[in-house]
Amino acid sequence: MSISWTAKVRKSTLEKLPPDQLLPDTQPKYVASWIYTFGVLTIAAFVMLVASGLILTIKGPNWWHVSHLGHFINSIHLWNVELFFAFMVIHLWGKFWMAAWRGKRFATWATGIFAFIGSIVTAFTGYLIQTNFDSQWIATQAKDSFNSTGIGAIINPLNTGQAILLHVAMLPLILGLIVVVHIILVRRKGVVTPISNDHQYMEGKF
C-alpha cells in the first residue's frame, strides 16, 4: 500500500528535523560563552527592524518626517540597522576565527554569507528611500557606479518607487527566508566544536 505524499513529507521532515534537535533544551558546555550570543542578537535586531519597518510602511514618508512619533520610529529603525550590522559582523568574526565551516557545515557558512550580502543590498535600498538630501546624494552617486558596471540597465537607484518596492516587498522576504534556512542548518548540524577539541582538524585532516 502506497502512503500519501503528505505522510511522506511528514516522515521525511521528522527524520531530517526531529523536534528535540530543532528546539533543544540543552547545549554543549562550550556554548556557554558570550561570543555565541551574537547570532541571536542579530535576529533580535532583525525582528525589531521588521516591526518598526511595518509601522513606517503603513504610515509613509510624510509621517516620519513631520511627526514626533514618526521621528522616533524612524530612529528605532535606523539604530537597529546599526545594531543589526554590528552584531552580525561580530558574529561573523567569531565564526571565522573558530572556522565554523568545519564538520560539513559549509551550507551553514554559505547561507550566512548570503544573509550578509542580502543585508547590504537591503540596507542600500533603505538608504535610497529615506526621502531626504542624504538619499538623493546616495542615489545619484550609486546611479553613476551602477551605470559604469552595466547593471544600471536593470536597477535604477534614482527610481524611488523601485527602491521602495525592493526594500519593503522583496528583499526582507528573501533575507528572512535565508535567515530561516541558516537557523535550521545550525539546528540540524549543531554548534561547531572548538578547534582544540577537533582532533581531525588539528592533525590537518579536513
Binding site: T26, K29, F38, I90, G94
Partner: protein, 57 residues
C-alpha cells in the same frame, strides 16, 4: 545634554592615510565592535562554572 556636548550638526571629520579615508564616526563604531568582540571572549558567561561542576550540560 549628550547632543549638546557632541555637536553632530555638521559633516563628519575624516582621517586620511594615503588612499585610505575613514570618518571618525565609522572609526568609533569599528573600535566599539572590536572592543565588544574582545569582551565577549574575555568575560565569563554567567553560571558557566556551576554547569561545569554539574557536568550535565
Amino acid at each position: 545634554m549628550f547632543l549638546a556636548v557632541l555637536n553632530l550638526n555638521h559633516p563628519a571629520h575624516f582621517l586620511n592615510w594615503g588612499p585610505l579615508s575613514i570618518s571618525i564616526p565609522n572609526l568609533v563604531i569599528i573600535l566599539v565592535m572590536v572592543f565588544l568582540f574582545i569582551l565577549a571572549l574575555m568575560i565569563p558567561f554567567p553560571n558557566h562554572s556551576q554547569e561545569n561542576k554539574e557536568g550535565e550540560k
